[in-house]
């Protein structure tokens, strides 16, 4: 399967989320996903550009959509970063709905020798491509070293599930696709209540107190559920939870140590690749101790003792939950 690829500024070599890029390349090979980088793409603007500009912000993003049309025959563009995914899909959606906006944006693009017909490119998040286009079964077939014994907290963040300009990939309040993916990789997935809550985005630079509190809620939530590590789908989330975990600990005088890895890195490990190939080791909160649990050959692992107490016989029945909660 072939797609246009939009890495985003943070996945560049030497940038904060380069490990995400490395691990994506590795798993793409294994899953027969061919990614063709969009030619000379520019920054999507994150949450900053649109705070100061309206038309220019849409033009900025539309340039990328226009550039993507140069990849002949590739109608879909994959973005591994949730913020890029949001900006690209939002731009296309609003251009499709608002003819006046589309006309103005195209007039601007013309100055750069470009044009874009709204709806020509469909933007996808990398998680969406893996779980829906590749599918859980095909991923399962590639697992050679299941992550048995590892307790993981799947962390989606905000923008992969909301506001779903193209329709929902997963439930915006209680998503489950990453949970299922990690289960397929053999890990023990904790029912992490904060899984779709916000990491704070750029708040570390605006208001330290607010930012660290948001980060603390997420890290504490994972720690409370005895998760060995948090698995993310977005570079901003990874940066906030990982690079700023130390600062958060100092601010609150806590000493959480919950490493944060990308879902592509987890997939890579389950597929049998070496940690170093997947960019593991670049985290500021060291993941070595957590990964030691699965680094060693473990033939039969006793599942950890159930954390729930046995229901007393007077207990009232719980409502039945459907098997499939997603979609």
């Amino acid at each position: 399967m072939k797609y246009s690829y939009f890495p985003g500024c943070s996945l560049e070599r030497g940038a904060a989320a380069y490990p995400y890029q490395q691990s994506t390349e590795v798993i793409a090979r294994t899953l027969d996903l061919e990614f063709v980088e969009v030619e000379d793409w520019n920054c999507c603007g994150a949450t900053e550009y649109i705070a100061l500009n309206r038309m220019a912000a849409y033009a900025l993003v539309a340039r990328n959509l226009a550039q993507a049309t140069k990849n002949d025959g590739l109608k879909e563009m994959v973005a591994p970063c949730s913020a890029c995914y949001l900006n690209l899909s939002k731009c296309d959606a609003y251009l499709t709905d608002d003819a006046a906006l589309a006309a103005n944006v195209n007039a601007a693009l013309a100055e750069g020798g470009l044009s874009y017909k709204p709806g020509s490119i469909k933007v996808r998040h990398l998680l969406d491509v893996v779980v829906n286009d590749v599918g859980y079964e095909r991923v399962a077939m590639r697992v050679t070293k299941p992550l048995r014994g590892l307790r993981v907290a799947p962390y989606y963040g905000c923008l992969v599930g909301r506001p779903a300009f193209y329709g929902q990939i997963d439930d915006p309040e209680y998503p489950v696709t990453l949970d299922k993916l990690l289960k397929v990789l053999g890990a023990e997935v904790v029912d992490y209540p904060m899984k779709a809550h916000c990491c704070g985005g750029h708040m570390t630079q605006i208001s330290e107190g607010v930012a660290f509190d948001l980060i603390r809620r997420l890290v504490k939530g994972a720690a409370d559920y005895q998760a060995d590590l948090i698995v993310t789908v977005c570079p901003m989330c990874q940066l906030n939870l990982d690079a700023f975990q130390g600062g958060m600990n100092r601010y609150f005088k806590t000493n959480y140590h919950v490493p944060v890895l990308y879902f592509t890195q987890m997939m890579g490990l389950a597929f049998g690749y070496e940690a170093v190939e997947l960019g593991i080791g670049a985290e500021l909160v060291d993941a070595r101790a957590a990964l030691a649990r699965i680094g060693v050959e473990v033939p039969q692992v006793e599942p950890p003792a159930p954390r729930k107490t046995r229901r007393p016989k007077e207990a009232l029945p719980m409502p039945a939950m459907p098997e499939e909660v997603a979609k």
Partner: protein
């Protein structure tokens, strides 16, 4: 008291016109779902709901002076949960733009962060973290440099900070596109 903005439009009309698509602002029941969902709500001058109330009441200056939109983390919970399908997050972006333009917002931290980011993107086509962070900290929080030093050293050691900005090939084209877009926006508002 509804204050009348330029062209005889009310503040409400101004905000709606400056937001792409139809934000459905007139439907607000003041139920408070947005204010209740907001992760940074407790730290805002006004909850998102209160801010929308102020827009409807025409309280232009207090609304643009509020720190509310600058504390928005773009999590979209408000927009997704609003029972009336009001595009709250988009309205926050509009207010940011209006606040900067009207020069009514007092605290320059957040606007400056955005401005610094925007400068790098407009000159290079890509974001440049090191440049962004150092410029921002030096201007707004010089002592913060020490606090962040630990993390900075860590990031460098792990190869996660780039020392030079990357420039796209089509930077001239991008500049022309952005200039035209800004020109069209200015015309729109006349």
């Amino acid at each position: 008291m509804p204050t009348v903005a330029t062209n005889g439009r009310t503040f409400f009309d101004e905000v709606v016109a400056a937001t792409p698509g139809d934000p459905h602002l007139e439907r607000c029941l003041q139920c408070g779902t947005c204010g209740g969902s907001c992760p940074s709500g407790p730290d805002m001058d006004h909850t998102p709901r209160a801010l929308i109330g102020m827009i409807r009441a025409g309280m232009r200056e207090p609304a643009l002076r509020s720190n509310t939109p600058w504390f928005c983390v773009s999590c979209y919970y408000c927009m997704v949960r609003c029972p009336q399908d009001i595009h709250v997050t988009d309205i926050m972006y509009t207010l940011k733009r209006m606040a900067v333009k009207s020069k009514l917002y007092d605290d320059s931290t957040a606007p400056d962060f955005s401005k610094t980011f925007v400068n790098w993107v407009e000159n290079y086509g890509r974001a440049f973290e090191l440049g962004l962070m150092s410029q921002h900290l030096l201007r707004h929080n010089p002592f913060g440099v020490f606090k962040i030093a630990n993390m900075g050293v860590g990031m460098v050691a792990k190869g996660r900070i780039s020392f030079t900005p990357k420039r796209i090939k089509g930077i001239d084209g991008l500049k022309a596109i952005l200039a035209k877009a800004k020109e069209l926006e200015a015309q729109d508002e006349v």
